[in-house]
């Protein structure tokens, strides 16, 4: 039974081997001549002063990732249904239609509340102000450079 998965195991092993092998090989083969300039962190020619205040990246990524999970789950349910759709007949179709309709409600809600909008257009006035208020690292660096 388990032997059916042997090709997958071999593929996984090969992939692992390739990844590790590449890293090791590049470590061994590349020339290693560090200079202070090469080692310094690169940000417009200056050392970064500090991490940005607030979120490290936009909260919007999070909302999108979370929406992905919700609809990921929906597809996970669709798959077994699709495999057995004929056998499940009308009852199965109604079931899955009800399920999709309910999840669609969540979709409409998120859509109308702006969860799917990317920056621009969807910012509320307060939010836009907050965004313009927040001092970012670029600003700081610019001042120092000037």
């Amino acid at each position: 039974m388990l032997s059916e998965y042997l090709p997958i195991a071999i593929l996984a092993a090969l992939a692992l081997l390739f990844a590790v092998g590449s890293l090791v090989a590049s470590g061994l083969l590349r020339p290693h001549r560090p200079t202070p300039v090469k080692l310094s962190a690169y940000e417009c020619g200056n050392d970064p002063v500090r991490l940005p205040r607030g979120e490290r990246f936009s909260i919007r990524f999070y909302v999108v990732a979370m929406l992905f999970i919700i609809f990921d789950i929906e597809t996970i349910f669709l798959f077994p249904w699709a495999v057995a759709a004929r056998e499940l007949a009308l009852f199965g179709l109604i079931e899955i239609a009800v399920f999709i309709a309910l999840v669609f409600v969540a979709y409409v809600y998120v859509w109308k509340k702006g969860g799917l909008d990317w920056a621009g257009g969807s910012l509320t006035p307060i939010e836009a102000e907050a965004a313009s208020e927040a001092p970012g690292p670029r600003e700081e660096v610019g001042i120092r450079a000037g």
């Binding site: 999970i69 495999v83 057995a84 199965g92 910012l123 907050a130």
Partner: protein
């Protein structure tokens, strides 16, 4: 030792090691990666137990979605601060370890009484998995468990509302007002917002 048992004894220790690694690592990213190792080993166990569909779901849902979301949030919150590993209450740690050990012993006793350590899985699971695991699972899921199936859609709706209400927009609007009240922020400028 059969191939099945060999695979079990390769992956079970890795699973336990992954869990222990998660418990002990200071860095949240390391902990998440240890957890991924553990989840993968559990997925392999599903293969041994002839549940290939769940193997796929485990990889797709846990490794593909849940752990990515975890890493996202870790990045959002910052990786540079490690967890404080000091004991919050003196004696809490040893007590917790004793409780966990007692739990394992309890499981062992119950399993020994209820199943027996030598009892093999019965033959004939191929008949159960007729036409493939996913299809066989669908037959059970969509006929005997159709009500729980529909109830899960409610969970998804609540989750969507939660993400929008708690993490999306408003938090910032309130924060702005509160910042002003606390005098932590200068009043809003007249300039147009940045693009």
């Amino acid at each position: 030792m059969s191939a099945d048992q060999l695979v079990f004894w390769i992956f079970a220790p890795i699973a336990v090691a992954g869990a222990i690694g998660m418990l002990l690592s200071r860095n949240a990213v390391h902990a998440a990666l240890f957890l991924v190792v553990n989840l993968f080993c559990i997925a392999v166990m599903y293969l041994l137990l002839e549940a290939p569909f769940l193997f796929a779901v485990q990889i797709i849902v846990y490794a593909g979605a849940i752990m990515v979301l975890f890493l996202f949030v870790i990045m959002l919150l910052g990786v540079d601060r490690g967890d404080d590993l000091r004991e919050p209450l003196i004696g809490q740690r040893p007590l917790a370890v004793i409780l966990a050990a007692a739990f394992v012993v309890e499981i062992a006793v119950a399993v020994r009484a209820g199943i027996g350590f030598a009892t093999m899985a019965p033959e004939g699971f191929d008949a159960v998995n007729r036409d493939g695991n996913a299809r066989a699972l669908a037959r059970v899921l969509f006929r005997e468990y159709f009500l729980p199936f529909e109830v899960t859609s409610l969970l998804l709706i609540v989750a969507a509302v939660a993400a929008m209400v708690l993490a999306h927009r408003r938090a910032r609007a309130v924060t702005q007002a509160e910042l002003e009240r606390l005098g932590l922020l200068e009043p809003p400028r007249e300039e147009a917002p940045s693009p």
